[in-house]
């Protein structure tokens, strides 16, 4: 590959100065008035028929401009399975579900008015455990599942609580288990967690007098929000405009359409006003996507030499009350169900199950943290049974060039063994350091989970002076999109990054982007930007050819000048070509230079409905985590002594930002390993605040050693692949494996709180250690 000038360089973030000066505008920082403030009335039961809603007192409250309920606004919304209404209609399915909303002239008036709304419920039998929800006698959360519109790659079972059953059959598991010398079967569990972005979810809507809808949202994906809202409201796409400003953290929680619909009917009732809603922390934790809990059963067959011969994987996911997005997490976990390992015979059943718990949805990793927890724990348990080094067992079974995933897709440009060995070396693998100290390792793999035709597009405008505007539909939520895309544009055009301008998206002006999710946009938007740059260069070289009288194919753009490759002295300033180029006679030749890039993956395919076989991955990104811990047997406290992370980025566009992302993902993984768990009591979140829902501070953050590998992805722009979610995936199992090594307990769930670890140690001493809580 030729040397790169702008990709692979750690330039400062494009948004850096704005973000350190307080100048970066997040949604709530915009004055988009005249404004009304919205608040929601939330259900106080987890499952109940709405017998009566009386909004009359709220409507008369001073300052109130509009009140809306689900009766008036029953509109449905959903990405993959349209099962969700913005407001409860007829019945509520989870605690905290919006049943009504108020718009008023002040926050205070709106808050007072929602208290005046009277709602009477007839409580219905509820179900809070997906395993119980699968039983015949379980109450149905959605009685009319068969009537819901869905993308046809999802398979609900009407008359049950199953909203998607993903099946995968690869090879012959009976034969595989027959070949095994050891068969291990265990259950694993992953609890709900929440993104707790420091900026909560927010949205604002303006219904103009001419019937046009403008929505400001903390959404990760304005194009998809526009599409879903237009469908829900039966509006032409062109009349809906969605703007996403800087987003104060996403991690999947702001993917899809979330709460924008709460303010739209209020805005429709108050044309000309911007109606804004700002979720409180409690509303954010209770009422936005949580990570779906997983109950997993793994059965693995392995030969004495360490080769895994068969895997049977059953996953029961707690989808919560609505699974419009969650059904695809269940699918992605299903088609990836061997994790980073090459297993010839696989039988997987992955079930998305409705309960009356909070709504499940995307969280960094999109099912991979949950699904690979069981894989990575079980490998360590097998290694112990075989008296084999867990690293060695991983190297034997780990995917290599040409290995096939669970869905039968061949993987390429794979350096998983290097990912493992790098982190192992970093923590001096194999050296036992002390009685209560232990080391653990885990691998990871993830492909973007997206429809096979999820597209990206880009427009490049060459300004009259030769500077550049790149227009994209991707969002900036911290991942560094603005910077990475600028660097790719700079590289593709050969114009310095400082001359490239790029902004956060507005669907009226930005070209289409499916979603900023799945660690995909640096790749997919990068592809679109490369295409747009090629289009721009063709136009520039055509004009330069006219100007210099040499063939267009022999031109080269370097910053502000186009020159002839065979004689550099034959050159023309870019600005002469860009400012509506004209002949010396004054006759115009060409208007402004605008390049177009439009990208769609062409190698992905649907999966066979019976076997789950096919090509669901745009690219596969591998990595690994290794940890050394010390456990205090008197208190159960786990102390992280060393933490190392590796990721194969293909090509780091900006090594510094890449490293920050790896550290950030590792810390989020560490946080789930040790602290995070949504505590539920009959569907009600008991810890909807930072006092009770702990995330790490700087003081809980150990130093992390990070290693960026660069095994180029052949089809990726400059060989890159996305790495945003990946670093989180292997952290919890690596830490749990280290704890197991330290004190001989076998964590089957996390977080590894002192209480849980202490109890497991005591149970082990008493000889009753089985599956902790």
């Amino acid at each position: 590959m030729p040397a790169l000038n702008y990709v692979g360089i750690s330039v400062p973030r494009k948004d850096a100065v704005e973000k350190v000066t307080g100048g970066a505008k997040f949604l709530e920082d915009l004055y988009i008035g005249p404004m009304l403030y919205a608040r929601i009335k939330k259900s106080t039961v987890a499952h109940g028929r709405i017998k009566r809603i009386d909004t009359s007192k709220a409507e008369k409250h001073p300052g109130v401009k509009a009140v809306v309920t689900g009766r008036e606004f029953p509109n449905k919304v959903g990405l993959y399975l349209i099962d969700r209404t913005f407001f409860a209609v007829g019945k509520v399915r989870y605690w905290g579900e919006p049943v009504a909303a108020v718009a008023a002239v002040s926050e205070k008036s709106a808050a007072e008015a929602v208290e005046l709304i009277e709602v009477e419920y007839e409580e219905l039998p509820a179900v809070f455990d997906p395993r119980e929800a699968l039983q015949k006698e379980a109450p149905l959360v959605h009685e009319h599942l068969e009537t819901y519109e869905r993308v046809p790659v999802f398979y609900p079972t009407p008359g049950t609580n199953i909203s998607n059953h993903f099946k995968l059959r690869k090879g012959d598991t009976e034969k595989g288990f027959a070949e095994a010398d050891l068969i291990l079967e265990r259950e694993y569990h992953v609890p709900q967690m929440q993104h707790v972005t420091i900026e909560t979810h927010k949205a604002a809507a303006l219904w103009s007098h001419d019937g046009k809808l403008t929505v400001w949202s903390t959404a990760q994906s304005p194009s998809i929000v526009r599409q879903l809202l237009a469908k829900s409201l039966d509006l032409p796409l062109g009349r809906v405009r969605v703007i996403s400003n800087y987003i104060g953290g996403g991690f999947g929680g702001k993917a899809g359409a979330t709460m924008e619909g709460l303010v739209i009917p209020l805005a429709q009732k108050c044309p000309g006003y911007v109606v804004r809603i700002v979720f409180t922390r409690e509303e954010d934790v209770q009422g936005t996507f949580t990570r779906q809990a997983l109950y997993a059963r793994l059965k693995t067959g392995v030969r004495k030499d360490g080769r895994i011969t068969a895997l049977q994987y059953e996953m029961i996911w707690d989808g919560g009350a609505y699974t419009e997005y969650g059904v695809n997490i269940v699918r992605a976990a299903g088609y990836s169900s061997t994790g980073a390992y090459d297993i010839p015979n696989v039988k997987t059943d992955s079930y998305c199950v409705y309960t009356n718990n909070p709504v499940g949805g995307p969280v960094r990793g999109f099912g991979m943290c949950e699904m690979q927890w069981g894989i990575e724990r079980q490998i360590d348990e097998i290694a112990r049974e075989l008296k084999m080094d867990p690293l060695q067992l991983r190297l034997i079974n780990g995917m290599k060039e040409g290995s096939r995933t669970a869905s039968g897709q061949a993987v390429a440009h794979v350096a998983f063994d290097q990912c493992l060995q790098t982190v192992a070396e970093a923590i001096q693998w194999g050296r036992k350091e002390g009685r209560y100290r232990g080391k653990g390792i885990a691998g990871l793999v993830k492909a973007p989970a997206q429809p096979s035709n999820a597209a990206s597009s880009a427009i490049i405008r060459i300004n009259e002076d030769g500077t550049v505007h790149v227009l994209m539909g991707a969002t900036e939520m911290g991942q560094g999109m603005l910077t990475a895309i600028s660097q790719i544009a700079a590289e593709a055009l050969n114009i310095p990054v400082e001359k490239i301008e790029i902004r956060v998206p507005d669907t009226d002006f930005s070209p289409y982007e499916w979603q900023s999710v799945g660690s995909r946009t640096t790749y997919t938007c990068g592809k679109a930007v490369q295409m747009a740059a090629r289009d721009v260069l063709e136009q520039i070289y055509r004009l330069a050819s006219l100007e210099l009288g040499k063939p267009a194919g022999e031109m080269k753009l370097d910053n502000d000048t186009v020159y002839w490759l065979k004689d550099k002295s034959k050159q023309v300033p870019l600005k002469k070509l860009a400012d509506s180029y004209k002949k010396d006679t004054g006759e115009g030749v060409s208007g402004p230079i605008i390049g177009r890039g439009s990208y769609v993956p062409t190698k992905m395919s649907n999966l066979d409905p019976e076997t789950g076989q096919g090509n669901p991955g745009l690219f596969y990104c591998f990595g690994a985590t290794a940890a050394e811990v010390e456990v205090d047997p008197e208190t159960g406290t786990v102390k992280i002594l060393q933490l190392a992370a590796s990721i194969d980025a293909g090509q780091a566009v900006n090594p510094q930002l890449c490293r920050v992302q790896v550290h950030g993902g590792t810390i989020m993984g560490l946080s789930t390993a040790l602290y995070e768990e949504i505590q539920l009591d009959r569907g009600r979140v008991l810890n909807p605040n930072f006092t009770d829902y702990k995330i790490p501070t700087i003081a809980n953050t150990p130093p992390i050693s990070s290693f960026i590998l660069e095994t180029a992805e052949a089809d990726g722009p400059y060989g890159l692949r996305g790495i945003g979610e990946q670093p989180m995936i292997s952290v919890a199992p690596a830490i749990a494996n280290a704890v197991a090594d330290a004190v001989g307990i076998d964590p089957r769930t996390f977080p590894l709180t002192p209480e849980r670890v202490y109890k497991a140690i005591k149970e082990k001493e008493a000889g009753t250690h089985s599956i902790p809580g």
Partner: protein, 162 residues
């Protein structure tokens, strides 16, 4: 209706006199009446530190303070750090070390760091961890934040005196 209170204070070096409702939070006052939106709200109950400003040089969660308490005090917000277009050294260090991603916690984080460095120009890692443990960063840029603050130390991390 709550009582109104007249307050005299300085904000980012400028003297001001305002009349505020007695129950108005300092955070709301800063954002909605002084129009300084760099200070953020993340929890409204003093748990996350996104709203930290300096009152007479001391860090305060502005969501927990009443605007009325500003009377007679000096308020410094994130907007007050850069002078004549020149960034303050903590701001520069945060950029150099890429000590943020989404940037939502950054103003509060920088204000806490600023307060630390004013009272302790050569903080150790432990000092930094203690001083910034009231600021949550969900993107997890803590390692870079620690390095950024350390680089502002008089000993500049490597024992050099600036």
């Amino acid at each position: 209706m709550s009582k109104n209170v007249t307050i005299n204070f300085s904000v980012n070096g400028e003297r001001e006199t305002r009349v505020v409702e007695a129950d108005l939070s300092l955070l709301t006052f800063i954002r909605e009446q002084l129009n300084l939106t760099g200070t953020k709200e993340g929890c409204a109950v003093g748990e996350c530190g996104a709203c930290i400003v300096l009152l007479d040089g001391n860090p305060a969660n502005s969501c927990l303070v009443l605007a009325a308490e500003l009377d007679g005090k000096e308020l410094l917000t994130i907007e007050g750090l850069a002078r004549n277009g020149e960034l303050d050294r903590v701001q520069k260090a945060f950029i150099d070390h890429a000590a943020f991603q989404c940037g939502y916690c950054t103003p509060g984080m920088i204000m806490s760091a600023r307060a630390l460095l004013e009272r302790n120009p050569s903080p150790t890692d432990a000092d930094i961890d203690e001083a910034l443990s009231g600021n949550l960063c969900r993107c997890g840029a803590y390692q870079e934040i620690r390095e950024a603050v350390k680089s502002c130390s008089r000993h500049n991390g490597e024992g050099r005196i600036e």
